[in-house]
């Protein structure tokens, strides 16, 4: 059985953590050398957003559209794109859901060639322990996954 080894698009899940930014830098360098394009995906976890507003007793004030979070994520991805060390085609994607499931589903739907991600995300106790999102992605993604420390 032979496999398709072409790398045309690289998906990079970004959550604002240092490992995820390192993964983006790595993916950009790789993409520029092999002629691939990048998709930076920021997944907003609604559970985490509501955790950050713990005194939101009146749920009527909780914005179910998550517009402020989406706007912040979008601005953040724009900023990362501006600061990329090399110029490569970069598309941003803002999604809402459980990060690991959203990443895997997106990768399959868009048929990305490769996922490049950090070893651990935001809130990780140690960057030397494989985070739950990277672990889930390696397990469930059909495409290759590159883990950057």
């Amino acid at each position: 059985m032979t496999m398709d080894t072409t790398i045309s698009s690289i998906l990079v899940p970004i959550d604002g953590s240092e490992p995820s930014v390192r993964a983006l830098t790595y993916a950009a360098a790789l993409a520029s050398r092999i002629g691939a394009s990048l998709i930076g995906i920021y997944v907003i976890d609604p559970d985490k957003v509501s955790e950050q507003q713990p005194f939101n007793i009146n749920f009527g004030t909780f914005d179910p559209n998550l517009e402020p979070s989406k706007k912040a994520a979008s601005d953040y991805l724009d900023e990362l794109k501006e600061n990329l060390p090399v110029k490569v085609p970069f598309t941003k994607e803002i999604a809402v859901g459980y990060p690991e499931k959203t990443i895997v589903r997106f990768a399959e739907e868009k048929k990305v060639s490769l996922i490049v991600m950090g070893n651990s995300g935001k809130g990780a106790a140690s960057s030397f322990i494989t985070g739950s999102v990277s672990y889930y992605t390696i397990h469930h993604a059909k495409c290759p996954v590159l883990i950057v420390k």
Binding site: T5, I7, L30, Y135, P144, V148
Partner: protein, 146 residues
Amino acid sequence: MKIDIKSILVPVDESEPAQHAFDYAMTVAEALKAKVTLLYIVDPAIISADNYYIDYGQVAADVESYKKSADEYLDSLIDAAPKDVSISKVISVGSPSREVYRYADKEHIDLVIMGNSGKGAISSLVMGSVSASTIKHAKCPVLIIK
């Protein structure tokens, strides 16, 4: 962070994920003009589990014959590789879970490309202990292929 990829380590056994990792590494190495090292680890624990020994001196003799067949397997991969990729082969004896990251660290490898699971895996969808250990301990990035 080191981004320049000059050396790629590909740990292989005769499994299908290893073959995929090898194919993938060839594409990446060609594009990046990186050198590839194929690493085959002969695990004495597997040899003694595969065979029934009365005389344990026989394990050492069998390690030699496993190394010989590993060498032939590596040569068959190299023969099928694109001619413009520089490939070397290394055979070592030990526990694959430890030997892969130790080799990668010792030789300052830039990237490890490996299958998700190896020869003895029940399912290729479950991450093998060798890839899990390599991701956990290796200092360099690790690319996992199904």
